[in-house]
Amino acid sequence: LSGTPETPKEDGRPKWDNKFQYILSCIGFAVGLGNVWRFPYLCQIHGGGAFLIPYFIALLFEGIPLLHLELALGQCLRKGSIGAWNTISPYLGGVGVGSWMVSILVSLYYNTVLTWVMWYFINSFQEPLPWSVCPLNENRTGFNEECYESTAVNYFWYRKTLNITPDIAESGTFQWWLILCLAACWAIVYLCTIRGIETTGKAIYVTAIFPYLVLTIFLIQGLTLPGATEGLIYLFTPNLNTLKNPRVWLDAATQIFFSLSLAFGGLIAFASYNPTKNDCEKDAVTVAIVNSMTSLYASIPVFSVLGFKATTAYWDCLDRNIISIINEFDLPEESIMRQNYTSWISFLNSSYPEKIAGLKLKNCDLQEFLDQSVSGTGLAFIVFTQAIILMPGSQAWAILFFIMLFSLGLSSMFGNIEGVFTPLLELQIIPKSAPKELLSGIICLISFLIALCFTLGSGSYWIDIFDRYAASVPLLVLAFFEVIGVVYIYKIKRFSEDVEWMTGRKLNLFWQITWRFISPLLLLIVFMAFVTLQLQKPPSYTAWNPKYEGFPMKEEKVYPPWVQAICVLLAALPCVCVPLVALFHLVKQKRRSKDPSFVPPEVFSCQGANS
């Protein structure tokens, strides 16, 4: 006989270069755009510092246990999501398929958001910034009407970037500039994921660490801006009364769940490339805490800048009123300043009330400007860009900001793509002799072609739909089945033995309690509350319609029935995989049990496969 004996570790599976790469990849996957533009918003509307209470409770009882479960699962079974769940039980294979589907749907629309970020990035090299001035109208006597009625920033976002249609049913045309940026984004994703974790492992050093540098720079800059302290006080002032509202607890639970990127299959894939004797418990706690700390750290510069913006808007409001008063009463310049504005107004109102009323002065209230809370793309592309114009050296700040957003999103894309790539690699869709580069190329090319739909005029409405329906309810359902599957079908005793073997110490009682009872219960409650809230009113959206009477306010519209059907399909398709695959296996089992030569497969054990 020839050849060297097969060592169990050398099964040809790629592995991380070092532990730090693995931790960084998990952190990069978890820390994404939501940490910057959703958490600060939630903090603001749910009573500032008081929101941290439900947030940390949800982290402790829902986030960390589920994260630990996924990492331990991937590390023990050493397979991607589809393979792992098939190994646990063929009846649970649907959970893996569902995770894989959600990863595909999310990759499609998430990269389009990165396309917008890239578009803004390449436009940041101009002087002046294109979103700071309105273009002129045809006869050059004034500004473009749509731009003038809203703001230059709004115009650049809705018209020059999205070229948005007034209704979701109107698809509009393809925006060629977005197609170019989309191609570039998918090319970048291909470049980084071309050989799986071999290449993403190198890229993650940059994309995961760079955002922290930029956040620190913005923190220092933000704190020096006027009005920053107002913004921070407004953000962090705790209002404990909000805790009585169950909506706050629901938002905290969903924020933690979606922020940690659970049930995508990406974390299972990452953990599967680990050596089996690895402390997954410590890893899970580390990743979850770093993710939450990043959210908190990011909210400080965001709110300094928002406070600065609100203060500047307040000053502008005052200045405009002052000019109209000076013009009307023929007062000398600089007689009314911001400081003595209120005394002047009260004096003039008592002496000449009709004249003051005739001026139609806008009521300037700093609180009102601070209250204009936005989250999501509105925060990044409208509010923040407006604040950047007001800073000295705006080009540099814009470039830094958009590179940071791009890195945050790209490191999350790595996890999404890994959740798609690893199961396909294991299912051996392409022959083993074909290089891995081919599979990743096919995935990126097909995704690019499908994502072209999002570059239509109505694209951003569709992205909202994907975000609200494909990336919310299915994840909750899949996570619920994950916990139930591991605890009650794989059996908690077996799993705790596996984890003990991997970490080298006995499983803490905390994990037993949370996995068995608390986390599934929490997930069930969150799911029911979430669905109830969604079903309370017909799903609607806000459309940007220049012909609307209330313009520049957005018009509230209801989704047409065919769009509602697509929403339901997006939410239901990954969930329905679970019972479908179970049914399929039941039928196969019934047929097989009639076959006398059938031998039942042996029971899988984490240690057995690797000893």
Binding site: S2, G3, M118, W119, I122, N123, F125, Q126, P128, V133, P135, L136, N139, R140, T141, G142, F143, W177, L180, C181, A184, A187, I188, Y190, L191, I194, R195, T199, D330, P435, E437
Partner: protein, 154 residues
Amino acid sequence: RISNVLLCNVTDRVSFWFVVTDSSKNVTTVPGSEVEAAIRMNRNRINNAFLLSDKTLQFLKITSTLSPPVEPSTPVWLIVFGVVLCLIVAGIVFLIVSGIQKHKKKNKESTERENLEEKVEVTLENGIPCEALDLKTGRVNGVFAADDERFTSL
């Protein structure tokens, strides 16, 4: 001519109404629309005469024509995009080529190793090098030698 400009309704802030007369047509005023058109065309000269700008010298009902922002022939963003795309494509090509090279090297190495193993196979038999076995009489395998009696006789 200056004498044809008459002032009226002077106020505290430097603002005034004026009409322009046409001396050639018996002291009648020039119609407002013509004055407006003339001011529009010569706005720059009037501003410069007072050392003011469009913002500080305002003619009511005459909106100033604004100058469009300077736009280069190729938009700047397209240039930046081109640079970014070139970098990405260069990176992809480099990675693919290095991947193919590694693949070829691995194939060459594995075929070399196979050839080496075949040669080694040839010269090894049951772990004993063939040179040692090169006995004309062959070796007697002690395991079977003692079992001669157990064989059934023909």
